[in-house]
């Protein structure tokens, strides 16, 4: 039983890491960034470049985040910003951008599955289980990430402005808050988080041009039931991720893979605001 418990906690942590960037972009810009999977893939390939240069595998994390930040900033400025007034077109643009990123990576690195050096190997003993050390580190990573995001949102001026834009963008603008800057910052940070997540999951995932796709679907559903709150995202990852682990373990992994999508749809039917408070 303790194996399932560890599975639930570590799966929730991985989902949280993968979905956090998507949620921030959704909260501020009210669009789902379908290029999120593409940014995840960029992070995976940043890790690949780190391996190929023979650098310390841990360096993949800052390199991935930086690459995501820069590309995210460029994309926000040249692709998303002109479409502020047309949110549906902006969503389509990010979707197309995801395809473009995948193809560019295919051209640059080839279609095949690549090998990335993992920073840690092996298992450690916890709750009477020999459990994957890397998955446990991801739990700590998710906690650090959540604490960091909370500190920025609650403790800095940019965080305050961001919360204001999330609550009511027109009102915030009326009060003199530069919502364009907030949008720019959150899209860049969201992209950086996606790439960081991509680098973080490479020891568990394959690195290929489509590596982001399966993650995007689950992250998308998790954000839909979480609304704009990082706390409800944490609850959603534990509940839905936990349900996926339990159904896979005691029923069938084939049904397990549907769990998040089906449960999210049911939750939204019963309670349209999902796990958000209002």
């Amino acid at each position: 039983m303790s194996a399932q418990l560890l599975d639930i906690i570590s799966s929730a942590a991985i989902f949280y890491i993968v979905a956090a960037g998507l949620l921030i972009v959704f909260g501020v810009m009210k669009i789902i960034n379908f290029a999120h999977g593409g940014f995840l893939t960029i992070g995976g390939y940043a890790a690949l470049v780190t391996t190929e240069l023979g650098l310390n595998p841990w360096l993949a994390l800052p390199l991935a985040a930086l690459t995501g930040l820069v590309i995210g900033a460029l994309v926000e400025h040249f692709v998303v910003r002109p479409l502020y007034a047309r949110p549906l077109d902006a969503i389509l643009a990010t979707w197309g951008l995801g395809i473009v990123i995948g193809q560019l990576i295919t051209i640059a690195f080839g279609r095949e599955v690549q090998f990335v050096q993992s920073p840690v190997k092996g298992t450690t003993s916890l709750l009477g289980e020999d459990y994957s050390l890397y998955r446990l580190l991801l739990v700590i990573g998710a906690l650090v990430l959540a604490a960091g995001l909370a500190a920025i949102l609650q403790g800095t001026r940019l965080g305050l402005m961001t919360r204001a834009v999330i609550m009511n963008e027109s009102l915030a603008r009326g009060l003199g808050i530069n919502s364009g800057l907030v949008r720019f910052a959150s899209f860049s940070v969201g992209s950086a988080l996606a790439s960081l997540a991509g680098a973080l999951i490479t020891p568990l995932s394959s690195v290929d041009p489509n590596m982001g796709v399966p993650w995007l679907v689950n992250a998308f559903m998790l954000v839909l039931v979480s609304g704009t709150s990082l706390v409800s995202l944490a609850i959603a990852t534990v509940v839905l991720g936990g349900a996926q682990v339990l159904i896979s373990a005691f029923w069938s992994p084939i049904l397990g893979s549907l769990t998040i999508v089906v449960l999210a749809a049911v939750i939204l039917r019963i309670r349209p605001q999902g796990f958000a408070r209002e």
Binding site: A3, Q4, D7, S10, S11, R111, E112, V113, Q114, F115, Q117, S118, K121, G122, T123, E129, D130, Y131, S132, L133, Y134, R135, P203, L204, S205, S206, D208, N210, M211, P214, W215, Q244, V245, S248, A249, S252, P253, I254, G256, S257
Partner: protein, 388 residues
């Protein structure tokens, strides 16, 4: 030259009559159709298959062709699936008028193409290993089926490593389930015990729950048959991260993918009819010729591409024996002819399938595959008892 001249004037004057009489002219090439997955799931391996066919065609043409006729390849993308295969087979058989189809494809694409082959009545040599028991009067197979591939791994685990308990993991599709169905029966027949059998969706990347079950069951050995590419890699990585130490036999990994997985692949047992390290003059000749022809563009030859090379030569031998490209005669001859290629002497003599020498290999730390044992001319079993 003179002969060709006559032929060309014949083409001009006879016009439509050529459709029937065409094969009588020496200059008329023999067309080999290759519907293959240039896009989709097979896109990683398809280029190596096409290269194999090109080398075979070049070699044959340099030596005067087949019955004095040059070989011409017609490659069409089947999109790795059924819908694309229908278009590819249609265009190759009815528009390009291919004399034969020789190719490696997914099972879905093959099954979609077979009715079109039956309508067009051309010989079809399938060069991909597959789940077995695909039978058609026009179909021959020169690659392995589960009966040939599974036994070396299971026998080695049970006899040499003393494994008694097994856990099976696969992707949820025809090949994954077909391979493991056979594996389960084979293990039980040999007195082994199956502790668990689990399937994940074809595109699954998260194996968390299955790995916890494996850890709880603690089997002596693990046999997996996932879809190629990403699922195979994610499963292996997550198994290694979880510290699972059981013997690991992988029915779906090829040499190239194993190399791509780096140290995570170390220790995996694989079973194949072709490994680049096969120590035979024919294989060395083949590898040297491939390298010379394609240079830096060379895709590493593998268990899916080498049967294509041999398939083209087997067709050549059959046409020469039949002394024509007439379908009925070639189909009859295909079972009787043999060809010595990189994998050894291949003859599709057993119910349209070929007894093959199988190699048990283990992936080494540097990504190379060390041959542990070879099993000569493993019988494909009763694949198509109703076909002669």
């Amino acid at each position: 030259m003179d002969k060709q001249h006559v032929a060309w004037s014949g083409i001009i004057s006879l016009g439509a009559a050529l459709m029937i009489g065409g094969s009588a002219f020496a200059a008329d090439p023999i067309k080999i159709g290759i519907p293959v997955g240039l896009s989709g799931a097979n896109s990683v391996v398809a280029p190596s298959v096409v290269q194999s066919a090109q080398l075979a065609a070049d070699e044959i043409n340099a030596k005067g062709g087949i019955l004095g006729r040059q070989v011409e390849l017609e490659v069409a993308d089947d999109g790795s699936g059924a819908a694309g295969a229908q278009k590819a087979f249609d265009s190759l058989i009815f528009q390009k008028k291919a004399n034969a189809l020789i190719t490696m494809e997914t099972s879905a694409a093959r099954n979609a193409g077979l009715p079109i082959v039956a309508r067009g009545k051309v010989p079809f040599i399938y060069t991909s290993f597959y789940e077995g028991r695909s039978c058609s009067p026009y179909l021959y197979v020169d690659a392995w089926v589960p009966d040939q591939q599974v036994a070396p791994i299971v026998d080695y685990f049970m006899q040499k490593k003393g494994a008694k308990t097994f856990f099976l993991v696969g992707s949820d599709y025809a090949f994954g389930r077909g391979m493991l169905d056979f594996t389960r029966q084979y293990i039980q027949k040999k007195g082994g015990k199956i502790l668990g059998e689990e399937y994940a969706p074809m595109d699954a990347t998260d194996w968390t729950a299955i790995i916890s079950k494996i850890r709880a069951a603690n089997p002596d050995a693990l046999v997996t048959s996932t879809a190629g590419g990403a699922p195979n890699v994610t499963l292996t990585k997550q198994l290694r991260a979880a510290g699972i130490k059981a013997l690991y036999g992988n029915l779906a990994v090829d040499e190239g993918t194993a190399k791509g997985m780096g140290t995570d692949a170390e220790g995996i047992y694989i079973s194949a009819s072709y490994l680049t390290s096969i120590d035979s003059p024919k294989n060395k000749e083949f590898l040297a010729a491939m390298k010379k022809k394609f240079g830096a563009e060379l895709k590493t030859p593998n268990d899916l591409s080498v049967p294509e090379y041999e398939g083209v030569y087997l067709y050549k031998a059959a046409v020469e024996k039949a002394k024509s490209t007439d379908t009925a005669a070639v189909i009859k001859a295909l079972a009787e002819v043999s060809f010595e290629g990189p994998r050894g002497v291949i003859q599709m003599s057993k119910q349209r399938h070929a007894p093959l020498t199988m190699y048990l290999g283990q992936v080494q730390g540097d990504g190379s595959v060390k041959v542990l044992e070879s099993f000569k001319d493993v019988d494909p079993g009763n694949q198509c008892p109703n076909l002669k």
